[in-house]
Amino acid sequence: MTTAARGRALRRAPFLAVDLLGALNLTATLLKYLSLAVLVPAAVALGYGEPVWPFLGAAAIVGGGSFALQRATRADHRLGTREAFLVVSCTWLGAALLGALPYLLSGDPQLDRPIDAYFEAMSGFTTTGASVVTDLDALPRSLLLWRQLTQWLGGIGIIVLALAVLPRLRVGGRQLLEHEMPGPEIESLRTRIRDTARRVWFLYLALTAALIVILLAFDVTNVDERMTGFDAFGTALATMPTGGFGTDGRSLQPFAPATQWVIALFMLLAGANFALLYRVFVRRQPLELGRDSEFRLYIALITLASIVLGVEIWLEDIAAGEAAVRNAVFQTVSMMTTTGFATTDFVSWPTLAAMTLVGLMFVGGSAGSTSGSVKVVRHLLMAKILRREIDQTLHPEVVAPVRLGRTIVDERTLRAVSSFIVLYIGVFILGTVLLAAEAERSGVDLTLREAIAAAATTLGNVGPAFGFAGPFGSFEPFSDLSTVLLTGLMWIGRLEVLPIVVLLTRHYWRNA
């Protein structure tokens, strides 16, 4: 080999180990299509005689920008497992940008600051439901609907939606899907990814439609005096993704008990595994519910927590009779599925009941649902891992696979579950401490309970916290730096921590 040839060969090693341009290219493709969603609130704006141009402007900026970025990065790309982390992370940041633009362009005084608008949009897409808006009635209808729609789009996942409806993406969607789907991967999907995505979206759409019809019926029949057509659509769009943005400043409190019970039922469904629901509703195998160990635990936890909460608020004379039962069940389901709706202002609840609610924020719904937080199946597996560890302390030779129903969970998944829980708790503690520090610096009055709840509620994509950020309150009093931190927590929580932590490692970016 000549010196020159050797020089060329040695210089060929790429600077980055990850195909950055390729990842950006795919992200741009996804965002380009996502920007079409803005046409829905644009149509609503036309109907209500509100300004259309903030929506068209947002579509033009994101759509055009994505198109340009896509053109600029067009090349032969190596898109694989490695790039998937970057695509998913960037797509969610980009989606929030799309979500924020209509707020900014409308110039509404409550949302005209970029940090606030971005927070509101991230809270929407990640189905958190925390809001910086203090007076919902002052927002235009079209903007309110856009808020609800971001939740609905983010519920099952932007990429899952893309896989279901878009022409074939240039990469197999499997790795992308793994990072976006909530919960650990227990059984690798045997069917085609596209079929899975379509089924999930079909069911999601059908359940949302069913809820809209029921709520409209309540409106027409006057079962619920407060219900309007707009509320029916808006509430349903925030229920199925376990989002929690309300169409009323007092969340679901002004609505009739019948409405609250129906919403509780649909939150319960939204917190169940959609693959399981598909088998139950579409394939008509209702017995599957009883066979699924995660679903059994999910229901058991909801029942148990409802009873505990009911006794607590009844004994404290917060509510009695049907109201106590309803508030306990509703608040349990709402917190555990990470929806965040409220039928009562629990800010004033005593410490025990309040801490029960905070505890529920760490439970989450089932894997493969639209809920956030840790998820029931991870708790179940963690309990099994711990039980085995304790057993092996005394009996080191025992070989005991961890089972979920009849399936044997492989050791990689178990390690991923343990690391997820440690990371999740770590991020939560770090978030709490940083919130407290920033509150100290900026002079915002934040108690320990409020700091804990604010970190837990954003990381778990729940929504309401305590104090001024309670269910009927707003996150507006937080300082700008805190708002940025909370936005980050929502993003990290929605993508389940790991994909983002991976981006922080040196060997993600460099081979050597």
């Binding site: 009996h395 030779e397 025992v398 070989v399 005991a400 696979p401 089972r403 044997i408």
Partner: protein, 441 residues
């Protein structure tokens, strides 16, 4: 009778020894030396060649054989030999030895064109289960992969009044079981509702493993049941024994030296506690209190290892030891070392095949009281005249249906249960009625 034996190893040799006086034998094997050893001792015809080859079988004259026994150590070769034989000579009855319980299952479901299959592993497991299944029993036999047990008890004065001294229809008999017969002196009474069990009787009970344990507790209160069995070696033999004992509700601990095998078996048998360890580690034996086990079974592939591990277990104080041995001479060695029971799978397999050769009614499983009574295991034919009848309507005399196995699960029928085609029935009957019962079903 003209009998072909394929395979002149330990099983083949044992079969030849048992059958060569009465029958005209042809032995096939690939190994000339083995054949020479057989010829030196017995007056048989030998043929060197591959028993799974059609031309070899034809040349050796398989067309004239009444019975073909394929008992090499290779399952697939045995099955192929039997299937070729069936094709060349449909009238020849075929018997196959296998060490894979799955083939037994496939054959039971009628998907393997072989007349009779003997699985060394399953026979070994049955033999061990007979030894330790119900401590109070005089004799225990298992059917249907352990789901059905037939147990004989001697009724002593300590037996519970719940079943003794009252007519059977009023007795509090454990669920999923029934009394098949009462043996009083020379008399054998088929147990009808008006009969009464008395002290001094010997009774025969058919029932589920749990019911058999409950009966043990009724007949001899305080003898308890076997709860803790330790098996060393999770190979096919060890695993089959573990599965059978587990089905009978016996607690099993399995000790396996290979990590991979230990993992596989812990996947396959969720109810078993599996250790990745050897039986040669005194610390391990002490830490896991192996000495507290009621029974230790040594099922490793190597006799030497079994011998050492069994001796070590004895030293640690295990009360009852059973060893699975592979060499013909090992039995004596183990007994000298103080091992309580030895089971030789090849010996058992050969015995089972020989029993079949003597009396090729596949269904006959167990003989009781000399040969007055038999227990049959029959699959009901579609055109049986009894299909669709309830059990109380059946005009069978001198016979009693103890259990049926339907879709792989044992059912202990009440008298208003209807028989369906394809049901596998466990029938207790007088020996002279056997042909009638077989014809009827």
């Amino acid at each position: 009778m003209k009998i072909f034996v394929i395979g002149a190893g330990q099983v083949g040799a044992t079969i030849v020894e048992a059958l060569n006086d009465e029958h005209e034998l042809t032995v096939l094997d690939l190994d000339e030396e083995r054949l020479a050893a057989i010829v030196q001792r017995y007056d048989v015809h030998t043929f060197e060649g591959n028993g799974a080859s059609r031309s070899v079988l034809s040349q050796a004259g398989v067309k004239h054989a009444d019975l073909l026994i394929a008992c090499t150590s290779r399952d697939e070769a045995n099955i192929v030999a039997a299937m070729i034989t069936k094709a060349v000579s449909p009238r020849t009855t075929t018997v196959v030895r296998t060490s894979n319980p799955e083939y037994l299952e496939v054959w039971r479901e009628g998907q393997l064109d072989v007349d009779f299959i003997v699985s060394s592993e399953v026979e070994t497991a049955y033999a061990i289960s007979r030894t330790i299944g119900v401590p109070a029993a005089r004799q225990t036999d298992v059917f249907a992969e352990g789901q059905v047990q037939l147990v004989e008890f001697d009724v002593g004065p300590e037996a519970s009044g719940a079943v003794v001294g009252v007519p059977l229809r009023e007795a509090r008999i454990p669920p999923d079981s029934r009394v098949a017969a009462i043996i009083r002196g020379d008399q054998v009474i088929l147990a009808r509702g008006h009969e009464t069990i008395q002290v001094g009787d010997r009774i025969v009970v058919i029932g589920s493993p749990q019911a058999a344990q409950a009966w043990g507790e009724l007949i001899a209160p305080g003898t308890g049941k076997v709860r803790d069995v330790v098996i060393f070696g999770a190979g096919r033999a060890g695993a089959t024994v573990a599965r059978l004992l587990l089905e009978q509700g016996i607690g099993v601990r399995l000790i396996e030296a290979s990590r991979e095998r230990a993992l596989t078996i812990s996947h396959e048998l969720p109810g078993v506690r599996v250790y990745h360890a050897t039986g040669f580690d005194p610390d391990f034996l002490e830490r896991e209190r192996i000495a507290d086990a009621q029974v230790a079974i040594f099922a490793m592939r190597d006799d030497l290892k079994n011998h050492y591990a069994a001796s070590l277990a004895k030293v640690h104080g295990v009360a009852f030891t059973i060893a699975i041995v592979h060499e013909a001479a090992s039995g004596q060695v183990f007994e000298h070392a103080g091992v309580d029971v030895t089971v030789n799978p090849r010996q058992i397999t050969a015995e089972e095949i020989v029993r079949f050769a003597h009396d090729p009614r596949t269904q006959q499983v167990v003989m009781l009281e000399g040969d007055k009574f038999e227990v049959l295991d029959i699959t009901t034919k579609r055109d049986s005249e009894y299909v669709g009848l309830t059990f109380k309507e059946m005009p069978i005399r001198g016979a009693l249906i103890g259990a049926i196995v339907r879709d792989g699960h044992a059912v202990f029928p009440r008298s208003d249960e209807r028989l369906r085609p394809g049901d596998r029935v466990i029938v207790f009957t007088e020996s002279r009625r056997v042909p009638d019962v077989e014809r009827a079903l």
